[in-house]
Subunit: 233 residues, 2 copies
DNA sequence: TGGTACCCATGATCTATGTCCAGTTGTGAC
DNA sequence: GTCACAACTGGACATAGATCATGGGTACCA
């Protein structure tokens, strides 16, 4: 029995394209790896040497200007794919925001394997097209939205992406939900293209307006989801 | 002889993955279409019904907020691929910036064809991965760069993308190059997440500093490429 | 050759957000 | 417990870029 049979993302990651025999072959060239919060798996600008599937945890993709400003260009969750297949350099670093578990492959091995398995490549293509859509939507936010619109959009996105892992919707209160952010205030600022102070002020404003509650630094209770949707623009 | 044999992007578009027999089959489900400047091929939010290859011209991909602010999320050139294969809605409109010629396919037909031709899907995957890299790089610009850095980055990107079609490098003057922009001032603003006034002021500043010259509204002569690189941050 | 409509440049203001800094809260070590 | 450090909040002020307003080019059409 291959260890993949026990994998929690077996049916959601790109591996879902493979039958058990193929999966065994893929498993033979990969290995699982644990990463602690804050640790990097890939660095910006280095040659692409490895790719991976996320099994557990949340990781950020980020780029920096030479003088140290940072922009988070993507966030990946369990079952998401990481890395740049088919050559080239990695345009962004990949760093764990929480403790994480990933299934890593040498990029060369993975490239060769995927070229022989069109169903896998097809899954990867669908996933990449989806990621491109999501990224382009985020460009509208970065280029054209105000700080308050950015914050509202961020909280909505978080409540959608964290469903199941860090976000619970109570059947009694459909307009209300609770989430545990995998981000510090600075990281939220780096996602939204704002400063930490602006993010902090937006949080307190939303709290004062009764739209959210902040039980602790990493916890957010959305009290009025519709108000957020209206504010997201 | 299929009409593809005469196609100028035959060896650069995703079609390059196909042999002449396969190409004939693809050609049978596609047709060329001329688009005049300003005309749209795909509208934001509509179901994805067609995909296409660009043969001639330049087109923009853009999204809008409900109250009319626009962000250009991508620009496509000859040999680039347009549209969203494998279902879903189009997240952005596609509009010609110049007169253009494209090779269009029904999305359903194309989906079916590509699933039967892994080499085509592979090309499409490589192209999509490249586009995702480029898009993520642009996020750093939108989220973290100043107006002057944005303008410098824009002019550099233009001089790179237009090489061959609208940009000439003179061997005598390697630090100098000429380009014909496919954008109005407003469209440049929509690419950079700025207003038209800021774009205009940046142009005159760069001109006054001797970094560029502006022979006409759509023409830019870069006089000091290195200065632009330094300013792009 | 004059009209008209768009596109662009530029000056004068305004304001959202950045910057700087001081104070507070939470957390983990010993 | 308390010490030390990092994360966060919030006030005061500065400013890049937006907004508003005007006038000049340039192309197109009659």
């Amino acid at each position: 029995m291959s260890s993949c049979d026990l994998c929690v993302v077996r049916n959601r990651a790109i591996c879902a394209a493979l039958d058990s025999k193929e999966l065994e072959a893929l498993n033979a060239i990969g290995r699982t790896r644990n990463i602690t919060s804050g640790e990097s798996l890939i660095w910006e600008g280095e040659d692409s040497v490895l790719v991976a599937n996320v099994i557990e945890g949340v990781l950020k993709l980020s780029t920096n200007t030479e003088d140290g400003r940072e922009q988070i260009v993507g966030v990946v969750y369990p079952s998401d794919f990481i890395g740049r297949p088919f050559g080239g350099k990695s345009g962004h670093g990949v760093t764990a925001l929480t403790d994480a578990k990933v299934c890593v492959f040498s990029r060369r091995d993975f490239d060769a394997f995927s070229r022989e398995h069109p169903k896998l490549e097809h899954k990867l293509l669908e996933r990449t097209l989806g990621e491109l859509d999501r990224t382009r939507r985020w460009m509208l936010l970065l280029g054209r939205k105000s700080a308050s619109e950015k914050m509202a959009s961020f909280l909505i996105e978080m409540s959608e992406r964290l469903t199941g892992s860090g976000c619970k919707v109570d059947a009694d209160k459909p307009n209300q939900r609770h989430l545990v952010l995998p981000f510090s205030r600075q990281q939220i600022a780096d996602v939204l293209g704002l400063t930490i102070e602006t993010v902090s002020r937006q949080f307190t404003r939303l709290k004062n307006e009764g739209v959210i509650d902040l039980p602790s630094r990493r916890d957010v209770t959305i009290l009025d989801y519709q108000a957020l949707v209206a504010e997201a623009g």
